[in-house]
């Protein structure tokens, strides 16, 4: 029953933001797709919103404990996939029986770390957004916590430059560190929204302990009348600031990632 998860105030804050984003969808009986730790705290906090869960983790044993721990929740479908989450999104999710209303890719470390940075993740994200696009006028929550154990700035630069427009490259020029990474990720998401004529809103994007970032995007292909959040164009998600929390800081600093 030991858990590898170390609960922190930051995690609690992210989960609460995720719950509120879920509430903003304005519908019930949602499907969660994520990588819960053994204690499955994400699912617990979201429980009143959820009907189904899809849990993914490399470690089957961790999934077994998570399954045991959420057995008191009256969920309809509980799927547990022992595999890499990116691989699942890339290969299995498009044909899966359930569409995730709330997706939470909660990486303790990494999240963007493959040898060919972004290639694997981009395929997975593209497949994910393609699946979501099958449901027009329905808003979804996509949350991503990442702490890049990446291969440095050049890897991002290379990845983004492979597909970025001149204007995007211009935006990235001169940025470093968290601002560069954040904008790179938002550019990726923005492009995916564009590909499917989707609108979106960065509901939450926070930086903790200088490296851990959590991003919550709410998006929709066409207007979802139930969703209470106003959404903007794919480009609009680039201009939302990041809230940076320093240790013990109650009110975060706002970082404008585009530098304007």
């Amino acid at each position: 029953m030991t858990s590898s998860f170390v609960e922190s105030d930051e995690k609690t804050l992210v989960r609460e933001a995720l719950r509120k984003a879920g509430l903003a969808l304005g519908r019930q009986e949602l499907t969660y797709l994520g990588m819960p730790e053994a204690a499955a705290l994400d699912i617990r906090i979201l429980q009143r919103l959820l009907r189904n869960v899809i849990c993914i983790d490399w470690e089957r044993k961790k999934l077994e404990v998570a399954e045991h721990n959420i057995s008191d929740l009256p969920l309809k479908v509980r799927e547990f996939h022992a595999c890499d989450v990116w691989e699942y999104l890339k290969s299995d999710y498009y044909r899966a029986g359930l569409t995730a209303d709330m997706t939470f890719l909660d990486f303790l470390g990494g999240g963007i770390s493959s040898a060919d940075t972004f290639a694997h993740e981009m395929h997975a994200l593209r497949s994910y957004f393609s699946r979501q696009a099958l449901h027009p006028r329905t808003a979804f929550v996509f949350a991503w916590t990442y702490m890049p154990h990446d291969r440095g700035l050049q890897a991002y630069t290379r990845a983004v430059e492979n597909s970025a427009t001149e204007e995007e490259k211009k935006m990235l020029r001169g940025l470093t560190g968290i601002r560069f990474r954040s904008l790179a990720i938002r550019l990726v998401l923005s492009r995916l929204l564009q590909e499917h004529n989707m609108t979106g809103k960065i509901y939450f994007h926070a930086l903790y302990k200088t490296v851990m970032s959590s991003l919550i995007l709410v998006f929709s292909k066409g207007h979802d009348p139930k969703c209470t959040l106003p959404m903007g164009s794919p480009e609009s998600i680039l201009s939302e600031p990041i809230r940076a929390y320093k240790k013990g800081q109650v009110v975060p600093d706002s970082i404008n990632i585009t530098g304007t």
Partner: protein, 556 residues
Amino acid sequence: MARTKQSNLTDDLLKQYGFQAKSDVKYSLEDIGSNFVYQLTTDIHTSIGSVFRELTKNSYDSYLELPETSRDEAIDRGIVISRSRDVGGAGKLTIADSGNGRSPEELKRFLQIGLAPGKSSDPTLRRTGFRGIGSWAMIACGSQIIISSQQFESTTRGILIINVAEMYKTMARNPTMEAILNNPECVRFGEAEHPLEEHGTKIEIRCDGPRRWVGSYELNRLYSHTDPEDTDLRSKLLTHCQIAWAKQSPYYRQIAAIYKKARYLPVPVFLDGDPVEKQIPPELSLFDGPTNIKLDGKSGKTVAVGWVAENPDQTGVGGVSDVEEELVGVQLCVVNSPIGEKNIHSENVRATILKWYVGEVHVVDDDIKPNADGTGLRGDVNDEFITSLQNFYTTLEERAEQKSQEISALRKVTKATASLLKLAEGKAEEWEVTYDVRTAQQAIEKREGEKWSNTTLEKEWKAAVKSLESNKNYRSLLKKKATSGAAKNTDGGTKKTGGTSKRSGTTSTVTIDSKDIQKLVAELILKFEEFNLTKDQIEELLDLIRAAMKSSEAMG
């Protein structure tokens, strides 16, 4: 005090028989053979329904152990059952609650035998478990069982792991209980700090495959029910477990008042995310309850409270109304836990008459307890209770009989009206219609001044009579002789009966031997019995046959 007295008695007997006390002979787990485990799991809890009954009862009782202050709406009460199968075919079934939970030390209770179970923290609520053996019901159900539990307001969670497959392997050598219960390969305890202040118990039954035998012992008994596609489990839960009526169900308020008398706290049960609940269909609009069931003897105290719902203008509720088969009949319950099959001890009434009802009898007397597997009452239950229960059934039978007569009378009247319409359209002959009209008239006369069992039928009756009497041919046909229009019998009463009937220009000739008719009628009567028709209904049908025979004879 009692112990000292008993000890003295045994000492006295020792002396009397000329023996010295020998105090070094003692019992331990070594004196109980491990076969006892299997007997507990399979001999007592013989059916899967009985296993689920025990599992849900344990969960239910854990809510009663919560401190009273916490037992409010803030706590989501629920017994959550979920199932899964993995790609390899292994199955898993979990049953979880958010009740009081157990401390790591108290988890031991799951494998204790016959020790006093916990207590309800609220005297207005009654526990279901009282033997301390229910947990053993689950042992043969899987190949591994994992029970984790966390007590209310505690941050420590305990775990008990039972390796049933290993336990059975060990049992092949016929060891003692000591060798099973204290073997870490069979039974293991653990504990951990848990980050949230959760509480409750989660029981995970793992089946590594279909039912199989390890030596002489069977495990994975629950395997077929670990399949989320299996629909039988819901039916088993409805039949064997404490399933409450849906709050949206008609008459829930009245039923909830009876629950209160039975000291039952409704706790919803979920199966794979969906609530399992009983629903009274709206067509069963005739509700009667609470009916106090009192002991016949001198005390006359109320020992149970009953209620029934029925369709006011129909006989039977299964098939006729949209009622799930599991709900048809009258169910005896203790703390809303079903006792035995529907209509238990109803030998005093016609076998199927209680199928006219959906209902329950809730025991409110603590001395009336179920037997271990819930298939009946304990042997020590006062016989007077069964008599009282049967009296309740008798009143239901009488009511059903009365309703049957009323429905029969109503049908006669509506049939006569329909026949009159056919006559007007030239689709029926006058002699046929005359018979129907006379039969209806007799029914009307018979019901004159009689009370009706329910207002629905009474209203329908009044409307039907009005409709009949307003028909312009009604009075005139009544005045005619019943035999008018019928030809004289030319056969002279011989065995052969021949007849020619003319209608709508067609002619048919039937020749039937009277013995054949006799045989046919006898078969029909048996069929009527099979169809559970009342005596009145049977008699009515026989009247029709007699009339048909007469007409046939009259027509030669």
